[in-house]
Symmetry: C2
Subunit: 216 residues, 2 copies
């Protein structure tokens, strides 16, 4: 169960470690956490912790065998078993995700975006398909993750369809609570909350600026 | 500094509490955390904690004065001082955020999206403007938050421009590390990491399913 306990912060750094290991000359066989840390300008303890979460090949004062660690990172990041996802909803958000280049870094592939609007089919280099093709593609390619980027009122219906097609995890951008069987994993994404956190930070720091006045 | 310590989970529930309080009849003057919890099908302790983070008006066994609590929630959520933001980059992600309806719930307003591509100006009901208009709008309306949805190679330049225009906090979607003065607050958004967390969960649960075999 190690992989689930890894934080998003750690997940963000893992591709950096892998990229660094790939730059090391073939003549070297071992690398230490502290040399990775100094090369990437990161905290020593943090690198040690990150690597411990995905690797069991490190030895004190000896370091990691480079090739093994590289394999462990690649396997953790899913390079050896690509996970695929489909999107339903080919509006701006759906298209933004479809075109987002960063998923490959994590061994993830977005197969296509589906939409009920027939006019959108064929757009984005043929990667937008009509919703009626969803069950076909799922039967053929077995994507495990479904991304919902439809308006709130259509989300539950889309969710039901995804589950029927064998989707096991849902990344939901629609502002509704989805009713699903408990074996389906649902993550709700609320873009507004991220911005609200930033806004709250600004308000808090504004009040902090003013604090000294209360002691005048 | 209470507002900054509130978690995103709490922030997600606050608008629900406010919406519920608004449904209560004017004849009632007090409400208890447990009645809110049961009405919204939430955990009692969680509601108590959430409200404690934004309100100091609750009394044991008496509950909260409805009107005061409503005011506290509205003020915390920024209904009384709308925070405004601007977007630079009017591609799919920029447009998705520009059209996202959920920001209002948190007292946030996206004023406009700017783009260096002249052909986009005027689109989305006139809410996309040419980048040359950015400093004018900032001088006039003083938005405090800048959202960067341009390709990686343009992000640092856009960031510098935003800071010059008085932006205090940046929500960065470009996959680059921005160099800024430490008084500017930067939050990096990596969409791929969210999906990677879901994918890792699936892989972990798959391994968990197989675990019993190891004890056969």
């Amino acid at each position: 169960m190690k992989s689930f306990s890894v934080s998003t912060q750690t997940l963000q750094r893992l591709p950096m470690y892998l990229a660094y290991l790939r730059t090391l000359p073939a003549t070297e066989s071992r690398v230490s956490a502290s040399s990775i840390a100094s090369a990437l300008n990161l905290n020593d303890v943090q690198v040690r912790k990150d690597l411990a979460a995905v690797s069991s090949s490190g030895r004190p004062k000896v370091g990691y065998p480079i090739e093994v660690l590289r394999d462990e990172l690649e396997s953790f990041l899913g390079y050896h078993n690509v996970d695929s996802a489909i999107i339903v909803g080919a509006g701006h958000l759906g298209r933004a995700l479809l075109n987002y280049g960063g998923f490959k870094t994590y061994g993830l592939e977005i197969l296509a975006a589906f939409d009920a609007n027939e006019e959108l089919a064929g757009q984005e280099g043929g990667r937008i398909l009509h919703l009626s093709k969803l069950s076909d593609m799922c039967a053929r390619l077995h994507p495990r993750i479904g991304i919902i980027t439809v308006p709130a009122e259509a989300a539950q219906q889309v969710c039901n369809l995804m589950v029927k097609c064998g989707i096991e995890a849902i990344w939901n951008f629609a502002p509704v609570h989805l009713r699903v069987d408990e074996k389906i994993f649902v993550t709700n994404e609320n873009m507004a909350v991220h911005l609200a956190v930033i806004s709250n930070y600004l308000r808090a720091s504004m009040r902090a600026d003013k604090l000294p006045n209360t002691f005048d």
